[in-house]
Amino acid sequence: MPVITLQRDKFSDFIRRDITLKEMTDWLPWLGFDIEEVGEDNVKVEFNPNRIDFSSYAGVARAFKGLRGWETGLPNYDVRSGGTVLSIDEAVSKVRPFMLAAVVSNVKLDEGEVVDLMEMQEDLHWGIGRDRKKASIGVHNLDVVKSPFTFTAVEPDSVRFVPLDRTEEMSLKEILQKHEKGTAYRHLIDWSPKYPLLIDASGEVLSVPPIINGELTRVTEKTRNLLLDVTGTSLAAVEKCLNVLSTALADMGGTLEQVTVNYPDRTVLSPNLDPQTMKLRTAYAAELLGLGFSDSEIVECLEKCRLGARKAGTGVLEVKIPAYRIDILHEVDLVEEIAIGHGYYNLKPTFPASVTIGRQHPTCKAANTARQIMIGLSFTEALNFTLTNENLHYQKMRRKPVQSVTLANPVSAEYTITRQDLLPGLIQNLADNKHESFPQKLFEVSDVIVLNNSTETGCERRMHVAAVSSYSTANYTEMKSTVEAFLANMGLTQWKMIRAKHPTFIEGRAASIKVNNQPTGIVGEIHPEVLNLFELENPTAAFEVDLEAILD
């Protein structure tokens, strides 16, 4: 989740009040922030990706002032008309079809704010842009370039310019191969015969969206007028990025000016910061929240969340949503705003009125019976992961691998498949506990996953029971008695033991357990070669039974 570090003094400037650190940590959670760390004079907070407008001081301050009732209702953003023109060339439509822009004049950014602006850009790239795929942002010093601008696409070798953080000219092809941003993001454009390029009236390069800007338009604390460009593959995402960024810069003291964007088939004025409108039924809100609020109380709550609201008929409000709020998809999102405006701390918990009777799941119930029997037999429970690997599950157990549920993207060699049996895990547990005193008797009652074509997912989860007993005189006879005690106490009256050949067990000391003539388990004494492979020193006997099969 994205984070922002708020310096107390700077935050105080934004909310125009001197605020204590305690007041910040007390109130920020009620807007949905998690307190990550409290520093000497700052707070590091985490925010949810739906509120990407919290990626700037300005965004947090707007909401904070609203919640405290210091400044409520819809914030207004004036966008002046301006002379800046941007043309979108047909050539770019195949690789990065959308671009919008805005001019911000008379900004004063100190060094810290330039860094903040870059961090905000990264949050937007991640939160809305899906790592620059759907949208990416460029911020430029407007005073060193001249309108009209053109967004076009060119051959990779045809243009050279100095990219950010370099001193020498590079071709677009070289940037993709050598520049760190080029190698990180080239997959977004390198499949195209032509690469996107933003140039000014005299052909000077501003950027290769979405890879990197030119050194020419670098923004420093001396920059006064900015050109914001957002390009992408989704117009909605491009618009959202531009709205969040330009409103934040306006709140930082900049003046917004429109850019005329000429697409081959249409002209748009950008940015468009008109608030959206949505209807809200007050009875719907009251039902969900369990609050008997009057319309005016609801309006007050919404205004504390910086929304505009007015009555538009009986039981219906018309709500205006500022352009930076990209998270409002449905009326229900406004209901949450009411709860936040009211304060979650003010919501008194109630208990649902309906009476219901609880029931255990039969498999879980049986698993608990199995556990009780096993601890009665002096076994101690182990809990292993269902994720395992072929070496442990098959090779070390002297078994030939069979096809198992396999991960497409394992994170380590240790976890590549899911287990079909519990025994390998228990043997591994013995290997990990060699230094503990003996006898060691372990059991597990847990899940395995087996392939099964008749289900919706091609596999099936089953509850197994397994046990191992390891000490200097452990043997088959004892384990056979144990598994028979287990079966009898599970309520079974009939089962058969049939001599079995199984590579994990000593030949002549293993039996397959049949219930209703179906093989449902195995009992035996572990083969010394398996013991050697796990570096175990004591004779070990084991059993494993499919618990669900004996319940059927």
């Binding site: 509120r51 919501l347 601890i375 009665g376 372990l442």
Partner: protein, 504 residues
């Protein structure tokens, strides 16, 4: 007159037989008594001043795995100097290393010891090695060979010469040797004891173990039952036990059952459709990426539910369908929905259950296994347990959800619970339940919670509000069990399980 018990008598006689002084191990072998029995007897005899116990510290040393390898193949510096000499006594470092077939990680060790032992000099600028003198077999190498040849590969350090003991210290620092300190006990009959033996030892008439024969024949009436040292430490016994984490899972299950919730249990492998799409998580949502979710290569894809449900979900994602939502505005892909994942939350089963059971009130729960694509660290595991509770009822409210959770966690013993606003793609309004942990001086998240969005309810034709909450159980278990490393919770260390009381 001193009366000796059978074991004491036998111990004393055995020592006398062995010449009046013997090591405990010798007495055990000769007498056929157990080690513990001899030691118990020795303590009593020494109290009676019949013998003296001499204790001597003994350090046992053996080669570590690395040590064994070096002993067989030669120390790395030995390999390197031999390689250098075979190259004529002067050569580039790289070449010498390659010729010596030395593994990369051992090179710095080898170079360091070459210099310390004065076998060669290193010209850093030219990256060359020059051999200095004939590399004699060092005392360290001799000691290693000595240990390798010793009985069971173990030697007693105290029995070595001073020079050799010095080498032991160096080899320990190099982690080529492991040592263990033992106390060697020798028992010696005292003068008093010798006198007693001369007089002859009185036979023991006390009964130690009551037998069925003594009970039935009532012969016990004529015997004296020996008084035991009832405070003497006995051997520990470990009862069979439910795993501490399973005990906490049980606690959570019982609270749910007491609160009238019914348990549900779904598959561990799910289609992305039920794990994500049915819960209104867009197909380009970061949580669906490969680095967050485990996808399967075998089997790869599953089946989607009936067309009506799939169509409704498709349209809801694309444009909001009839839900009044804007939707996510992208073309929904059925192939993406068919991909199989290890479920990332139990909510996958919940939504499937609610799509089939629609008569209110419904209160269901699960405490079950889920997966995230995470490296194993002190705070993350790829596999963990999630608590999930669901209420579907006419007129259920956000405040009802808060009340249900407050009750649940109070029963768990957590009193200071707050609900902070939060965000989840499938709930609105959303919140997170936070608990204040005084020991940590901060709030930790217990679970996420909220009311299912209309975009989730409508495609499944669910007509009443659904209250949902879910959170990791393992973190709660760590707080309860006082662990600060989650690997301990899943490591199945027998010592820890045996030590942890069965009342979690």
């Amino acid at each position: 007159m001193v009366r000796l018990r059978k074991n004491e008598q036998q111990t004393l006689l055995t020592i006398a037989h062995l010449g009046g002084k013997a090591k405990v191990s010798q007495i055990v072998t000769t007498s056929n008594l157990s080690h513990a029995a001899v030691m118990r007897a020795a303590l009593t005899l020494s109290k009676e001043k019949l013998l003296q116990i001499h204790e001597q510290k003994q350090t046992i040393a053996w080669l570590t795995k690395e040590g064994e390898i070096y002993e067989k193949n030669g120390l790395p510096e030995r390999c390197l100097i031999e390689s250098l000499n075979s190259l004529g006594g002067k050569a580039k470092i790289d070449k010498t290393v390659k010729n010596a077939r030395l593994e990369g990680q051992r090179v710095p060790i080898a170079l360091g010891w070459l210099r310390i032992k004065g076998w060669a000099t290193i010209e850093r600028k030219e990256n060359t090695l020059t051999a200095l003198k004939k590399p004699q077999i060092g005392i360290d190498e001799e000691v290693m060979a000595l240990i390798a040849r010793a009985d069971k590969g173990r030697i007693v350090v105290e029995e070595l010469e001073k020079k050799e003991r010095g080498a032991i210290a160096t080899l320990r620092k190099r982690k080529l040797l492991a040592v263990e300190e033992k106390i060697l006990r020798t028992l010696e009959i005292s003068l008093h004891g010798q006198k007693l033996l001369k007089k002859g030892v009185a036979p023991d008439e006390e009964v130690s173990q009551l037998t069925p024969e003594l009970i039935v024949s009532k012969k016990w009436r004529t015997k004296k039952l020996r008084k035991f040292n009832v405070t003497a430490p006995g051997a520990p016994i470990y009862p069979g036990k439910i795993h501490p984490l399973q005990q906490i899972i049980e606690r959570a299950r019982k609270i749910f059952l007491e609160m009238g919730f019914t348990e549900i249990r779904g598959p561990l492998v799910e289609t992305a459709f039920w794990n994500f799409d049915a819960l209104f998580q867009p197909q380009d949502h970061p949580a669906r990426e490969m680095h967050d979710t485990f996808y399967l290569s075998v089997p790869k894809a599953g089946q989607l539910p009936n067309k009506k449900v799939v169509d409704a979900v498709t349209k809801t994602h694309e444009n909001g369908w009839t839900t009044g939502s804007k939707g996510w505005g992208y073309p929904w892909s059925a192939a993406e929905g068919r991909r199989l994942v290890l479920r990332t939350h139990t909510t996958a089963e919940t939504i499937k259950y609610l799509s089939a059971q629609q008569k209110p009130p419904i209160k269901v729960f699960s405490v079950d296994r889920v997966y995230r694509n995470e490296q194993l660290t002190y705070k993350n595991t790829a596999e963990f347990h999630q608590i999930e509770g669901i209420v579907m009822d006419k007129g259920a409210t956000l405040r009802d959800l808060m009340g249900t959770l407050k009750t649940f966690y109070e029963r768990f013993g957590l009193e200071t619970v707050q609900f902070w606003p939060s965000y989840f793609p499938y709930t609105e309004p959303s919140a997170q339940a936070m608990v204040y942990v005084p020991k940590l001086h901060h709030w930790i998240e217990l679970c996420g919670m909220g009311m299912f969005r209309p975009e989730v309810l409508a495609p499944m034709d669910i007509k009443h509000p659904v209250l949902a909450w879910g959170g990791g159980l393992d973190r709660l278990a760590m707080v309860e069990l006082g662990l600060d490393d989650i690997r301990l919770l899943h490591g199945n260390r027998l010592g820890w399980i045996r030590r942890t009381p069965a009342c979690q």
